[in-house]
Symmetry: C2
Subunit: 234 residues, 2 copies
């Protein structure tokens, strides 16, 4: 390949991953953070990230970082934003492209996160982060909040079967506020995207609550018909 | 500044601008394209773009490209997506960060676009573009369609005063389909964001149609009260 642009200035390009997890027991949205292993800011709290290699696409780099940290491959991941201010990184000029990923924390292999010194921290108690990582997290959190209103991405954070209470708990954890139960149930049921299972969750109440399952193929059908997911809970 | 990352691989980083304009007379959403002035693909249709310089932020670079082409500074511009596939550019590895801008085509200085060989092309008749620029345009167009549903960004494409017919024409031009007039009017009026002026547009009909004006401060007030813009027209 002839390099037509040989004389031009080049830049370091990184990816940073905002990895959200949801622990159905704690009812808290969590963020996977690491202690940085190189200078500058060695040992400080940081988003997991890495530099984009020569023969590696940007999305590939983000998936590599996620895999190295969690051992997970088939994960919901989305590009969030390219952060390009000249002085955002005190170690040199780095343009970073943030991504956010949603994982069910039960899927994580604890050994894996142990080895990489990754830690889950509740979104409401994020420690001080290096550089502009706080802003990066805030943007991803905002996008997640908007996303679960308009797309059925919230289900990525739940196990395959869940109760309606657990689904509402998830929305409340993401929004960090209470939402109206009746209104929420009415909206989610009316969308016809959930299948009620013949099985109850009995750990949290005597009476038990029916499990539900999200049906992606139904959503795909509805989408083709011009239907919009809308769970704009107040 | 100590360069802690000196040994790492660097990349060319560019910005590409998807500049949408709306001509209220043609009732067409348009895109500003240029003939590329360097190799490879010299002379082919391209999005206006440029490489990010050493001491320049990514957003700054996008604003520079827009300014050089149009002479406009205070324009609605938003980052769209970072395109990072290794072989997307045949001239070398370039990661490009696309942005989209909305301008009222009447604001453009024709001399400026003449000099830079920029051309407005209707979104329904885009010529073949270099590299992945078609995908870049499609994504920006999708984001614009989603954006005008949830935020009052459509007004950026209109002159300060406009009739409701003109506003509907704009939405139809962006969606590239007809929308229901009664429903559209009901929704836009009920949001209380427009001020009806004491003046009529009389060029397109004898009876004339009242001009309206969008009031950004009202929108800001409503937003603080937790109100959502929603013009989800079918």
């Amino acid at each position: 390949m002839v390099d037509h642009y040989a004389v031009l200035e080049k830049h370091l390009v990184a990816v940073d991953c905002v990895i959200f997890g949801y622990d159905i027991r704690d009812k808290e949205l969590k963020l996977l953070l690491i202690r940085r292993r190189f200078e500058p800011e060695l040992g400080k709290w940081s988003l997991p990230g890495g530099f984009v290699k020569k023969e590696e696409g940007v999305s590939e780099a983000a998936r590599r970082v996620l895999y190295q940290l969690t051992g997970l491959k088939d994960v919901y991941m989305k590009q969030s934003y390219a952060w390009g201010d000249v002085h955002r990184d005190t170690g040199g000029r780095v343009i970073t492209i943030s991504h956010f990923a949603l994982i069910n924390t039960f899927e994580l292999n604890p050994v894996m996160t142990e080895a990489s010194a990754a830690h889950w921290r509740s979104i409401s108690r994020i420690p001080e982060l290096i550089f502009d990582h706080k802003k990066i997290v805030e943007r991803a959190h905002y996008e997640l909040k908007e996303g679960i209103k308009l797309k059925p991405v919230g289900f990525e954070l739940l196990p395959e079967k869940f109760t309606l209470v657990q689904l509402q708990d998830l929305y409340e954890a993401i929004y960090q506020r209470k939402i109206d139960k009746r209104n929420f149930r009415k909206k989610i049921i009316s969308m016809n995207l959930l299948e009620k299972l013949d099985e109850k969750e009995k750990e949290t109440s005597k009476k038990g609550a029916y499990y539900y399952r999200f049906i992606p193929s139904k959503y795909d059908d509805f989408k083709r018909q011009g239907f919009y997911f809308s769970l704009d809970v107040q």
